[in-house]
Structure formats: structure tokens, C-alpha cells
């Protein structure tokens, strides 16, 4: 072929690609479906009102003419893979991980539609008079997928692996002893725990139960290491178990897992589920309805969304407001939107410095240096004046409008509207360039040199990078050449690890959804602010590594005082402390969207036996056990 014809061919191909890119890919003109999303104008108005108030629950309110049907396979496009899968004491468990947990196992407690935590695998929870001892009784007759019975010993084993793990252990600080007897397990605390273990053992990482027989064969199990076993005993243990092949007791049984973007976790129907219709069913409810569920990691939101539109996925989740808005305007898919008890989007700051007497006391040391390698000592973010100046320079309303499609609202603290501790005015710095300039002068004096420079990590998702470039540009607009911000896009798999290790200065983040402020204490406690020491390595749940005795005191009230008014006042004070000290730059309240092929029914409303429906969508997660497909065929 002559060069001229080759060029013409190239041009024609390029033009056709352009045309394809410009064209609508909704496919709605040609394809019709007998199933509708059932969204009315009134529903939309109600949703907007709820969303504004932070009370969008994400409930699937479609009217269904027929009852549930067994059969079908659902493919769920999830936003990320999980590092160190799948044992709860080791995995970096964010929303995608917790969704998979909901398929393969169950927690001891579940959150109901009112935000109250109710027994689920547990039958009851009782405490002594001073709340230092709590006894959980678990259902009799429930078995793990490998046949191991769920009893007090199994629950104790689960709790022990979590409390002695370097990753999850800090969340169990204060828990002194765990004993098991028959179907009961008793937890003894060194100080009163007014809400008991329910918030830790609900549908969060360590609330989910896994087979002790499986965990006993895992090399990374802390109970398989000294001091729990001697070196000799450890050498003789059978550690041939596969941590990537979890054994739970849930509605679906792990079938296969391949790590990495584009790969999947497949789970098939558990015929002997305790809420099923098998010989060991306790409720004869026939759950689950689906034959199989596959979770496919699709990190890029555009790829995930295109996958749903193309039929590759049947459900996706996203916290990308732009994408949620597109589905809102597209009646072809079911869309659940939820921000009730939701998360906050923010920029997390590493302020680890000085000594940590609280953690030193916990560890029985004389002193503990937070930054022995001086890795963070030059960060300007250690200065509260710099943090305040930078906070004043962020136009959160603009972020909400331009990067949140106008459907999210600016955040002013860790507690969203409707949550205990939320304040209309938390004292967090407003967008005010004059105030920013004043604080900036103090910042420069405090820091001692200009330009003020730091690295700002973001996930490598193009949308997130651009959002954080906008934040950086706001700082440049306010402070000109006196600020240098290096934006570092980080691969998703490393992201949580950097936060745990303290290897960051500023990092875009999303967290703190929950129904009770007691659930948050370990994120912000001095006792969980481990040093920045890669040589150890230290893992901190208080990622920002700030220490504040006043914050610790407020959480003592929240954890120990059963009086709701006192707990609310303490939570509000926590909010104000964040406002004063600016340990994080709050940006917006997170809105989660779950978009699905309309053949998937009952996306929400799993019933808790004896306690009514569960909360529909909490922190972007909904239950999977109750889902079914029209005619038992999810793709149609």
C-alpha cells in the first residue's frame, strides 16, 4: 500500500475514533428492557432533600410485583483490591473488602435502619453494672463453611487474632481479657465501656467471623507466633493454609480469588447457610437467592461505569459525584445514593513529632519518640499556623460545586449532618483569603523558611488527581510562589500502607462513617499514634499521628459514660478540637452511589431476625444476601 493511502487510512481511522468517542454510549435508543428503575419526580425531590440534610439512606424503594426467585449470577465492579487478604487481622480493609466480607461471612452485630446496633450472629449482649465486663451469647447451630461450629471459643479466637495483631490490635486497647464458655464469650475491660463491644463487632473488619480452623493454619496469624507459642511449637505448626482462601460462615462460599486490578473474587451460594433452606438452617428463609457473586476489581471509575453500561458488571459502587450525577440523569439503571452516617472526604495531615508519653505508658516504656529518623521534622504541616492558613485558602464550596457535581456539600468536621457530634459551626477555618494571608505570615515565621513545601499524595485515579490539583491551585492562588506542593499520584495498593506507616505529609482520604462516635476513638487517640519508623515497621491507626490530651479525655467520656447527653457534648467537643487544631483539611461529605442493572432486585433491606431491616447503605456498603434477579436471570 502506498504511503499516501496509508495516511488516508490513518486519518479515516482517527476520525472514526473521534466520532465514536463523541457519540453517546448509553445504548438506550436501541435497547429496551421490561424492567424499570421506578424513579418518580417525587422520589427525586425527596432524595435531594435527604441528600442536603445528610440523610440519604440509599434504600431500594422499587415496587416488586413478584417475590424473590432463586438463581442467577451477579458481577459486582468494585473500586479496589485489598492488601494482605483476607484474614481480618491482616487485611487493609476498605469498602471493597467489606463488601466481599458481607458475601462470605457475617458479623456478630448489625446496624438496623435506625442506626442502632442489633445482635445478628450474637443472640444477646449483657454487661455488668459498671460496664467493665460484657458477655456475648452467640446463636447455636451456626457453622463455618468448613464445618467448624460457631461457639464462644470461635468468637474468642476471632477477637484474639484481631487484638494481638499489629494492624488491628490498637482498636482493642483496654480489652484485658476474653474468656469463652459454651456459646458465650466474656470480654473484660480495664475501664468501663458504655457501649460495649457492639460497635467494634458490628459489620466492620473484626466484627466478621472466620473459621478458627482456617486461621490456625495461617503463617501470618499472630497467635501462631511467640509469645503465644514457643519457637519450637511454632516450628511444628501446620501453616499450610491459604490466607487468600477465606473460610467464613456467610451466604456465599469462597470459590476463587486472583489479586490485582481487573481480576476477581468469586463466591458461590452456600447451600447450608444458617438463614438458608438446608438441613442446618435456623430460619428457613431460603437465603441467599443468587447462585454466585463475582467481585471484579475495576479501579478506574470510568472503566467501572462503562463496564456496567456494557453489561460486563451488574452493579458498581462509586463515591465519584460526577458519575453519580450521570446515573441520576439516566433512567436506565437503578441508583442508590447514601450519605446517612456517611464518611467525610478530607486531606489527612501527618503531624507526627516529639514524644508520645501515652503510647510509652501503654508499652511500658520511659519515653517514645514519634519521629526517630527525622522523616517528618521538616514538614510545615507540623505548624498549626500553616495548617490554619492552608485551610482558610481552600474554597470547599467550589470543590463541592465543581468536583462534586453540586450534589455533595462542604464538610466542616468528621461528623456529617445527622450524626452525633455534628455542628453547624465547628470552628473549622472558613474560606477566607484575608485570614489565610494573616495566618500565612505566622506560618512562615513558625516554619522559619520559604517556600513552604510539602508532598500531597493522592490515588492515581485521574479524577482524584485533578481534584487535588485544584486544591493545590487554590493554595497557589492564595500564597503565590511562597508555596510548593508536589502532587504524588500513588498506586491504590500502596496507599493505605503509606498511611499506616506514616510515610506521607498530606494524603487525600475518606473515612469516619459510622453510627456512633465511640467507633472513631482509635483513629484519633494518642495511644494509637505509633512512631514514624520504617525500620520497625510501626503501624498506626491514628494515621495523622496527632496527640491531644483533651481529645483523649473527650473520648474517655464517649467510651465510658452511658449518658447520651454527655456523650453528645463530648463528641461535639471533639469536632471543635478538630476545628481549632486543623489536623485534617475537611473537604466534602462523601456521597456514595450504587448503580445497578434493574434486573437486580432488593439491593437493600436485609432483615435482622427479630429486629427489622438493616440500614440500607452504610459507608457505601449494602447487604448482598437478600438480592435476587428478575426471573432468576441477572443479565436478561
Amino acid at each position: 500500500m502506498s504511503p499516501r493511502w496509508t495516511k488516508l487510512l490513518v486519518i479515516a481511522l482517527a476520525l472514526s475514533l473521534f466520532a465514536a468517542a463523541c457519540g453517546s454510549n448509553d445504548g438506550g435508543d436501541e435497547e429496551t428492557t421490561e424492567v424499570t428503575t421506578g424513579q418518580t419526580e417525587e422520589d427525586q425531590q425527596q432524595l435531594e432533600t435527604d441528600r442536603e440534610a445528610g440523610e440519604a439512606t440509599g434504600e431500594d424503594e422499587r415496587d416488586v410485583e413478584t417475590g424473590p426467585v432463586h438463581g442467577g449470577k451477579v458481577v459486582y465492579g468494585i473500586e479496589a483490591d485489598s492488601a494482605n487478604p483476607w484474614a481480618h487481622y491482616a487485611v487493609s480493609c476498605a469498602i471493597s473488602c467489606l463488601l466481599i466480607y458481607r458475601a462470605i461471612t457475617d458479623p456478630l452485630f448489625l446496624t438496623d435502619v435506625n442506626g442502632d446496633i442489633q445482635p445478628y450472629l450474637a443472640e444477646s449482649l449483657e454487661s455488668n453494672d459498671d460496664f467493665t465486663q460484657w458477655t456475648v451469647t452467640v446463636r447455636d447451630g451456626v457453622s463455618f463453611h468448613d464445618g467448624t461450629p460457631l461457639d464462644g471459643a470461635a468468637v474468642k479466637y476471632n477477637i484474639d487474632t484481631c487484638r494481638f495483631s499489629a494492624l488491628t490490635g490498637p482498636a482493642f486497647l483496654g480489652l484485658e481479657d476474653v474468656t469463652a464458655d459454651g456459646q458465650t464469650v466474656t470480654l473484660t475491660y480495664s475501664a468501663p465501656e458504655a457501649t460495649g463491644p457492639r460497635s467494634l463487632l458490628r459489620e466492620r473488619t473484626c466484627g466478621h467471623m472466620f473459621s478458627p480452623a482456617w486461621m490456625a493454619t495461617l503463617a501470618n496469624n499472630p497467635l501462631n507466633l511467640p509469645p503465644f507459642v514457643t519457637e519450637e511449637e511454632a516450628a511444628e505448626l501446620d501453616l499450610s493454609g491459604d490466607p487468600a482462601a477465606p473460610v467464613g460462615l456467610g451466604a456465599f462460599v469462597h470459590e476463587s480469588y486472583t489479586p490485582g486490578n481487573g481480576n476477581s473474587f468469586i463466591a458461590t451460594r452456600n447451600p447450608d447457610y444458617w438463614r438458608g433452606d438446608g438441613p442446618n438452617s435456623l430460619t428457613d428463609e431460603g437465603l441467599p437467592y443468587l447462585d454466585e457473586i463475582e467481585f471484579v476489581v475495576a479501579v478506574d471509575i470510568q472503566g467501572r461505569s462503562n463496564g456496567l453500561r456494557a453489561g460486563q458488571f451488574d452493579i458498581i459502587h462509586t463515591a465519584n459525584a460526577d458519575e453519580i450525577k450521570k446515573y441520576e440523569e439516566d433512567g436506565e439503571f437503578v441508583l442508590l445514593q447514601a450519605n446517612d452516617f456517611g464518611e467525610t472526604s478530607y486531606i489527612m495531615l501527618n503531624v507526627g513529632a516529639g514524644e508520645n508519653p501515652t503510647l510509652a505508658f501503654v508499652r511500658g516504656l520511659d519515653s517514645l519518640t514519634m519521629d526517630p529518623g527525622d522523616l517528618n521534622s521538616a514538614s510545615p504541616l507540623l505548624q498549626v499556623s500553616c495548617r490554619r492558613a492552608l485551610a482558610h485558602a481552600i474554597d470547599r464550596q467550589r470543590l463541592a460545586d465543581e468536583r462534586g457535581a453540586g450534589i455533595v456539600t462542604p464538610a466542616n468536621g468528621p461528623f456529617p449532618p445527622g450524626s452525633i457530634g455534628h455542628l453547624e459551626d465547628s470552628g473549622y477555618p472558613d474560606f477566607d483569603l484575608d485570614a489565610a494571608a494573616t495566618e500565612w505570615e505566622t506560618c512562615k515565621a513558625d516554619h522559619g523558611s520559604t517556600p513552604i513545601s510539602f508532598t500531597f499524595n493522592t490515588t492515581n485515579d485521574a479524577f482524584n488527581v485533578e481534584t487535588n490539583e485544584l486544591v493545590a491551585s487554590m493554595w497557589r492562588d492564595a500564597f503565590g510562589d511562597e508555596i510548593e506542593v508536589s502532587i504524588a499520584p500513588i498506586e491504590q495498593g500502596q496507599y493505605i500502607g503509606l498511611a499506616l506507616a506514616g510515610a506521607f505529609q498530606a494524603q487525600a482520604w475518606r473515612n469516619h462513617g459510622g453510627v456512633d462516635p465511640a467507633e472513631q476513638w482509635f483513629w484519633w487517640s494518642s495511644a494509637t499514634a505509633s512512631p514514624i519508623d520504617p525500620s520497625v515497621p510501626e503501624l498506626a491507626l491514628n494515621f495523622g499521628r496527632f496527640q491531644d490530651p483533651e481529645m483523649d479525655a473527650q473520648f474517655t467520656i464517649i467510651r465510658q459514660n452511658p449518658d447520651p447527653a454527655a456523650r453528645q457534648a463530648a463528641a461535639e467537643e471533639v469536632n471543635r478540637l478538630f476545628g481549632q487544631n486543623v489536623w485534617n483539611f475537611w473537604t466534602t461529605w462523601t456521597l456514595w452511589g450504587v448503580a445497578a442493572n434493574p434486573r437486580i432486585q432488593d439491593l437493600t433491606d436485609l432483615e435482622i431476625p427479630g429486629f427489622g431491616p438493616t440500614i440500607p447503605v452504610l459507608g457505601g456498603r449494602h447487604h448482598l444476601t437478600q438480592m435476587w434477579c428478575t426471573d432468576g436471570d441477572c443479565q436478561g
Binding site: 504511503p3 495516511k7 490513518v10 486519518i11 482517527a14 473521534f18 468517542a21 463523541c22 453517546s24 454510549n25 471509575i301 470510568q302 465519584n320 460526577d322 458519575e323 450521570k326 474554597d395 467550589r398 465543581e402 468536583r403 492515581n460 485521574a462 479524577f463 488527581v465 485533578e466 481534584t467 490539583e469 485544584l470 493545590a472 491551585s473 487554590m474 497557589r476 492562588d477 508536589s486 502532587i487 504524588a488 499520584p489
Partner: protein, 316 residues
Amino acid sequence: MVADLDSGVAPATAATAEPAPAAIVDAGPENGSDAGAGVRRPKALGVMFWLAVGYLVVLVLAAIFAEVLPIKDPADTFSGTAKNGPSAEFWFGNDGAGRDIFSRVIYGAQVSLIIASVGATLALLIGGMIGMAAGYYRSRVDTIITTFTDATLVIPPLILALSLILFLDSEAARRVFILIVVFVLLSIAPIARVVRASTLVWSEREFVLAAKTMGARNGRIMFREVLPNVAPALISYSLIVMANLIVVEGAVAFLGLSVPPPTPTWGDMINKGRTDLEAAAHISLVPAAVMFLTVLALNFVGDKLQERYEPRESVL
């Protein structure tokens, strides 16, 4: 020069002893025409060639003088303009963060052109020498080099680029350097093959044989006799290599592995506009069109120059 010759006498150099190679081509009979017709007139390059050259010159000048041009800072965001289409103030519209796409396209050219031109130049030097050695010495040297280049060419370039970037790179600050190294490694093999082929032809020519007969050393023959004849085709091919490197850089940037933000690159701009293709297609399409035109122009110019300087058996 004297030391190069065994006789110790400085004769006329091979180059001066032979007619200039270009003159040979130009003076030779063309398609069996009468040798007495005189010097062949070079084929006209055409309007499209000069349009392509003009486009490239404007692009290169804009990229070099971007700092002094009256355009907006590519990192500045303008409130209320996110995803707006072209306007009098923002000729190419605004991206998702409200930045001026026109200015980002020009600054984006800096990265693409620097990486592509430096990469192609270094690859030209290294690949050129390797290819000349293979084509001139032949036998075992040729076998070894050809095996190496063939082996390299078997691996898909984008896969090789991504693997090398991930393997070599640890800090975003060094990304430009790493990208250049990777692109040089990618380009050596194809350039070496082209140069080898050209050298095989030229090293059989009479003036080369004459130089050998006169006792000129191999190095001297390669650089004084062969290289001047291989160079025109090589330089024109390097433009095609540059075009390829711009595309590879775009692909790497699209995957988020090129220079870190906020430095704009065309591939990164296309990537960031991807989510808005339905509502604001210009965010992706403008940088895509500029990249397309640049690659087309480089290919066109390279093709034309290659046609012009390509040695033809009939002429030789």
C-alpha cells in the same frame, strides 16, 4: 589523519578522491533517462510538506517560548469555568478543574517534544553506531547485533516501556530522565536496523572499496565515507521515531506514569477528560487532535525526507 595510513604519506582522502555521494545520486541517470541530460532536479516536496513543517515550527517555537507568550499559567484554575467549551478568553475551553486548555496544550508540548527529541537524538547516536558496526563489519558482529535488535523488537514497545518505567522509577522527580532512558532503549533497535540496512548498501560502493584499497582504517571509512551517506535517511527516520515516541509518551501519560502533576502532558490531559467525553468532549479531544496533528506532521516530513534521500538501486 596521517597516522591512519600505513604508507605514512598523506594522499587525497577517499572522500575527495571520489565524487561526493550526493552528487552521485543527483548526477546519475534516472529511470533509464539519458545520462547526458545532466543533473537530476530534486523532486518537489509539495505544499503539504511545507504546511507540516510550518505546523511543527510553530509548535516548537510556542513550546520554547511558552513562558514569555501572553498565555495563562497552565496550573491556574479559574472559578466557575470548569468544563466550559471554547470562548474568547479560553480558546480551547477549560478542563475539569477550570484550567485553560490552550495554555496546557502548549506547555504539554514541552514535555512531549523534549522527551521525544532528546530520546530520538540519543537513540540516533547509539542505534546509529550499533547499526553501522553491524552493517560494515558483518559476520559475527552483525549476527550478535541483529540477534539483539530482533529480540528487542519482538517485545511490544508499550509493554516494554511500562515494565522499564516501573522497574527503573522510584521517584516522580526523576520521571523525565527515566522516560528518556526508556525511550532511548525502545528506539535503539529500530534505528540500528535501518542504519544497518543502509550501511550494507553503502559499504559496497566503489568509493568505500577505494578507501579500503588505499589503506584507510575501518573507523575512518565508517565515519568519513559511510556515515555522510547514511545520515540523511537516518535523520529523516529519526523524525518518524520522534513521532512514535510522542505516541508512546502519550500512552504512558494516559496511564499516569509520565511526568507528575501539575505539569501538563497531552496524554494526561486526554486521560483526565475521559470521564467527561459525553458532556465536555473538548477536554480530551483538543489534546488528542494536537497530538494527532503533531504525529501526522512528523511522519509526513519524515516520509518525504526519506523518499528524497533514500538510496535507489537504479540510481546506484
